[in-house]
């Protein structure tokens, strides 16, 4: 790692201040950040530890309106434990991530702000468009494409790897962001922005902004399912992940949210699949039809066309889980 100053502000406000310079970076659990610093992809002058105060940033609480309030410093292990009752599919997603040791330190905020897992991005000796080079080698002949995205992969083929964003997005969650002047609350989908040449992160967070909480609205009788497909049984990134939320009214689907991870530079919403579900009974035929629409608009590369099929399967399995027909 390049030498840096390690700063431990005592409050979120102070963290905002100390992390405002472009050369500063926020650190929570540090699982993603330290990894990339060791690879010298990230070289901050100042590493600012996100303070564990106030208590709400490190707890899961229930708001007066039934809203679940998840602090950004809640670890994935704690999230899995806290959600086992209220939202077991969130717990399921959290407990599939990385390894037990990492889940004890990795935070919800860190997971939402995770950098791409693209091997080229993480290998400084290779060029990378996202890191500022002219071209994305993944898109060139001979590039390894198995981990690349299948949507919006025009100039950068990286795929957003985190498993929680699709789940939170499917639940219509909001995130709270503390800035220098004000605290703002935005839909989680707005946390993500398409890649820009030379921009290392995938979020819309401005310098000095600190993600503090995730707000999950009350889910009523909504049905949620999460599924991911990996090469290894454990300790592996998903090839594709999918979260599906379905609300039934009078035996027909009245609302449907379908989000995918690891298929595009940002969490990807499968709009066509959602449409295919609306107004239909929640049965196998509907699920099949919705899944078939997932790959709509996909632009797979020669080396990852199979991912389009996996996306279909992942959504189908997420829907089956949501329907309680677990697979």
């Amino acid at each position: 790692m390049k030498a840096f100053r390690y700063l431990r502000p005592a409050s979120v406000e102070e963290a905002v201040k100390t992390s405002t310079p472009e050369t500063a970076m926020l650190k929570a659990g540090g699982m993603d950040l330290l990894d990339l610093m060791k690879e010298r992809v990230l070289t901050p002058d100042d590493v600012v530890q996100v303070p564990a105060v106030p208590e709400r940033v490190r707890r899961v609480m229930t708001g007066p309106d039934g809203m679940l309030l998840v602090g950004a410093l809640v670890t994935l292990a704690e999230l899995a434990e806290a959600m086992a009752g209220p939202l077991p599919e969130v717990a399921h997603a959290a407990s599939l991530a990385a390894s037990p040791q990492i889940r004890h330190r990795a935070t919800v905020g860190g997971n939402l702000c995770q950098h791409t897992r693209c091997g080229y991005f993480r290998l400084l000796s290779m060029p990378c468009w996202k890191r500022g080079d002219k071209e994305c080698p993944v898109l060139q002949e001979g590039g390894v494409q198995e981990n690349a995205g299948i949507f919006s992969n025009g100039s950068c083929a990286c795929a957003h790897p985190a498993s929680l964003p699709p789940v939170f997005a499917a639940l219509d969650s909001l995130v709270m962001i503390q800035g220098a002047k004000l605290e703002r609350t935005i839909p989680i989908a707005d946390l993500y922005a398409p890649p820009k040449r030379g921009k290392l992160t995938d979020t819309t967070l401005a310098a000095g902004e600190v993600l503090t909480r995730v707000l999950i609205p009350p889910q009523g009788d909504a049905q949620l399912g999460y599924s991911e497909i990996r090469q290894k049984e454990a300790f592996d990134w998903p090839l594709v992940s999918a979260a599906a939320r379905v609300v039934l009214r009078g035996g027909k689907i009245a609302a449907a949210n379908i989000w995918l991870g690891s298929v595009a530079p940002t969490p990807h919403r499968a709009v066509a699949a959602e449409k295919a579900l609306m107004g239909k009974p929640f049965d196998d035929a509907t699920i099949q039809m919705a899944a078939a629409a997932v790959a709509d608009g996909a632009t797979p590369l020669p080396g990852n066309s199979y991912k389009a099929e996996l996306a279909t399967v992942a959504v189908k399995r997420a829907l089956l889980r949501a329907a309680g027909r677990t697979k």
């Binding site: 080698p137 590039g143 390894v144 090469q231 290894k232 099929e309 996996l310 399967v313």
Partner: protein, 802 residues
């Protein structure tokens, strides 16, 4: 199994290294700190192929804490490698990304890293070749323009020939009613030792070198380093190689490495001990992986299923230089010629230089590369012939007494028993060909490997020294290497068995060339086989000498016993026994640490504890102590590689593995339902160590089959980490593995045992692939069998059917 009875062989004897390893007390190279030690770090090439224009180290030299900076221009030229085609610090050009251009030694690792970053190398990039096809194309750029001897080179082929031609191939082809042909490939993979590579080089004031090296070949390393010292102008100096606790070997320690010579140069230049330690990135990018290969197999059988011929053409991407691993074809010849009875065989291997990372040995050494095509193809041959693949294998089963086309003398052979056990445990009859509806299938594959050493060097010998102290503790000095396989555990029980002491009274010393006798290295599954054969020789000598001494000393000690007894019980009257005439050397035995007469009644006073006996022999007028040595050289031949002929091992280990799999046709994921591993081990020496060897090898075989592959792009390794290089985790091994050990009581083996270190990973991939074929009718010919390949193949098949 024969009726031989053993005191410790075959029993659970705990590993002597277990407690310290579990306590975190074992000392690996990473843990050793020498006084004044510096941290060495290497500047690697930034190109796959380029001419070096200049190397500027001036800024590096000014970094505080830097004590030495070496390049090819300020140090003597040190040649290394199996063909001596590699120069430690490059001067003319770089031929791969892992080429060493310069190195730094500094007082701390951060300073060394900073200095390495400040070294500027100017290159003139050259076009590279990144596959054997590219390298062998007309007019391809040459990786080496001149051979080590200075003669010009005209192509990228390695100057090594491995060829075999036995019987009459044409006649064999004519006799075949059914023929199968296919091209199969294996990927570049990494040995993935959990403990990364490293060494500490240290000179004394007289210029003698001590190397602490993570090696499997301490004595060949000593030879290599001695040559390096001579080239450095230090002829006649001593080299001592000390082997620390190894964090895994798997073949990575079969060669000396550039980083070791770099440490030597830095230590000599700085006058301080220098440690070079690889991190995980280095281990992937700057150590040598296992070769990728491509093999065309053609084999045929007659109407009754008898194999009539086999032809193999192997192309191996060797990377930029030749390590010992370049001789993989020496072992490929075993399955090519001697896996199942096949009368007419042709084998050719082409080894090619490319600008990819240069490769080295890994467990199995060429064997999995060709067992993969042979065993996959065999299922297709069976299908054509309408014979159950299990039956086809049994029809052609090897047997004891055979002289194979390669000239291998099959002394004992458990293959038939292994096949039978595998079929039975898999419930083959009920399951084979019957699981298509649920995408379940079973498959099997066999192997043959060297089980009694593998002669690929002028000597395949091993020496041992047994030294006994005054308390009956036996110290064993053996030049082979414990790298986790359990060598010290079996040495402990082998010495106890052969000598007649308790295992807990046997101490195995750290491997050190200054105290241990010569050994060619721990490879070819030879460790336990060699060590225990040498042990038996040395123990017999020691016992013979001890028993001669006992003729005089034993009666004295027995009389002392009696005296003591009478002091306690004056009425004690021993039964009549003529001690003096019984005390002949041939009547003595030592067991469990007690000396006794085999002809004497079983009385406590007629036994003498080993330590007491030793003291009585030592502390007397003209007494003595016991140190015995032995050197065991198996009765084998160094094969003629151009003919591919010679009995390279004292025995051969056969085995069969079976797999039951279930394929998820939506995702292409393969779930292993169960595996069976049936191996002819000659004799089980230590059940826990043996199981560990098979389970561990099988996990590596599973990785080879399903997960592992190094991706490269223009010679650059793209996945130098465990994130993208996928080795199995515990949940990946979530299926039952049934082990079957067939004991054939091998005459050349110590206590009947064969070597078993490598076989466990050899047939795993074809067994799994054959099961996948049985489940879904899809044949993947390129390892690893990823979900993607399965889905693509299913899609292609559906498209074809539609």
């Amino acid at each position: 199994m024969t009726g031989r009875r053993f005191r410790f062989v075959g029993k659970e004897v705990a590993r002597p290294d277990g407690p310290d390893k579990a306590a975190g007390r074992a000392e690996y190279i990473h843990d050793t700190v020498r006084p004044g030690m510096l941290h060495g770090m290497i500047k690697f090439s930034e190109h796959a192929h380029a001419r070096i224009v200049s190397v500027d180290t001036s800024r590096a030299e000014r970094v505080p804490g830097v004590r030495a900076v070496v390049t090819g221009f300020n140090t003597p030229k040190l040649r290394m490698g199996f063909l001596r085609d590699n120069v430690v610090l490059k001067r003319d050009k770089v031929r791969q990304f892992r080429d060493e251009v310069a190195a730094v030694a500094a007082t701390d690792a951060d300073a060394a890293a900073e200095a390495v970053d400040l070294i500027r190398v100017e290159y003139e990039p050259l076009p590279g070749v990144f596959s054997p096809d590219e390298a062998m194309a007309e007019g391809a750029p040459l990786v080496h323009e001149v051979a080590p001897d200075g003669s010009p080179r005209t192509d990228n082929a390695l100057p090594l020939t491995f060829h075999h031609d036995s019987g009459d191939l044409e006649a064999g082809m004519r006799a075949a009613k059914y023929v199968d042909e296919g091209v199969y490939s294996t990927p570049l993979i990494q040995q993935s030792c959990m403990g990364t590579a490293g060494c500490i080089a240290e000179f004394d004031s007289a210029g003698n070198l001590t190397m602490r090296a993570k090696t499997q070949i301490p004595f060949l390393a000593q030879r290599d380093f001695t040559r390096a010292l001579a080239a450095m102008g230090l002829p006649g100096r001593n080299v001592r190689v000390i082997v620390p606790v190894l964090g895994g070997g798997f073949g990575t320690g079969l060669d000396t490495h550039c980083y070791e010579y770099v440490a030597i140069l830095l230590a000599w230049r700085s006058g301080r001990p220098v440690r070079v330690l690889y991190d995980r990135h280095d281990e992937f990018a700057h150590l040598s992986p296992r070769q990728s290969s491509r093999t065309r197999v053609v084999q045929g059988c007659d109407g009754e299923g008898r194999l009539t011929f086999r032809r193999l053409d192997v192309v191996q991407d060797n990377g930029a230089y030749a390590a010992w691993g370049a001789t993989y074809p020496s072992v490929m010849l075993l399955p090519a010629t001697s896996l199942y009875k096949v009368p007419n065989v042709r084998f050719d291997a082409r080894l090619v230089y490319t600008n990819n990372p240069y490769c080295q040995a890994m467990r199995g050494y060429g064997n999995p590369e060709v067992t993969w095509p042979i065993e996959s193809s065999l299922d297709h041959l069976a299908e054509q012939a309408g014979i159950d693949p299990y039956d086809l294998r049994r029809i052609n089963c090897n047997e004891a007494g055979e002289l194979t086309p390669m000239g291998l003398k099959i002394t004992t052979c458990g293959l038939d028993a292994c096949l039978e056990a595998t079929a039975e445990r898999l419930d083959w009859g009920a399951k084979r060909g019957k699981g298509k509806a649920v995408r379940r299938g079973v498959g099997m594959a066999s192997l043959v490997h060297v089980g009694g050493g593998g002669k690929i060097y002028r000597s395949d010998g091993s020496g041992i020294i047994l030294k006994v102290d005054d308390f009956g503790t036996v110290y064993v000095s053996y030049g082979g290497v414990e790298m986790g396989q359990g060598l010290h555990a079996v040495l402990r029980q082998g010495v106890a068995e052969a000598l007649g002491v308790r295992p807990e009274n046997v101490v195995v010393n750290r491997t050190d060339t200054s105290t241990c006798p010569w050994d060619v290295g721990t490879h070819a599954s030879r460790g336990a086989f060699m060590a225990l054969n040498a042990t038996i020789l040395a123990a017999d000598k020691l016992r013979a000498r001890l028993f001669t001494w006992a003729e005089r000393v034993f009666p004295e000690e027995v009389r002392a016993n009696l005296k003591k007894l009478r002091r306690k019980d004056p009425a004690f009257a021993p039964p009549p026994f003529d001690l003096e005439s019984a005390c002949k050397a041939e009547n003595f035995d030592l067991a469990d640490g007690w000396l006794f007469l085999t002809s004497a009644p079983d009385e406590p006073w007629l036994r003498v504890e080993f330590g007491r006996l030793l003291r009585a022999i030592h502390f007397r007028d003209r007494g003595t102590m016991f140190v015995e040595e032995a050197f065991y050289e198996p009765d084998t031949d160094l094969p003629d590689w151009e003919k591919g002929y010679g009995n390279m091992s004292a025995n051969y280990a056969y085995g069969t593995q079976g797999a039951e799999v279930e394929v998820d046709v939506e995702t292409g994921q393969v779930r292993i339902v169960r595996m069976v591993a049936a191996h002819d081990v000659g004799r089980v020496l230590n059940p826990t160590a043996l199981k560990g060897q098979i389970y561990g090898a099988l996990a590596q075989g599973l990785g080879y089959a399903l997960h592992e592959e190094i991706h490269t792009d223009g010679g650059r390794i793209l996945n130098p980490n465990f994130t993208d290089y996928k080795i199995a985790t515990a949940p990946d091994m979530d299926f039952p593995i049934e082990l079957v050990f067939v004991e054939t009581d091998e005459p050349s083996g110590p206590f009947g045992a064969k070597g078993v270190g490598e076989p466990g990973l050899v047939p795993t991939a074809p067994a799994i692939a054959n099961a996948i074929y049985d489940a879904i009718g899809i044949r993947i010919r390129d390892l690893p069998i990823t979900p993607e390949k399965i889905v693509e193949a299913l899609r292609a098949r559906d498209a074809g059917e539609a």
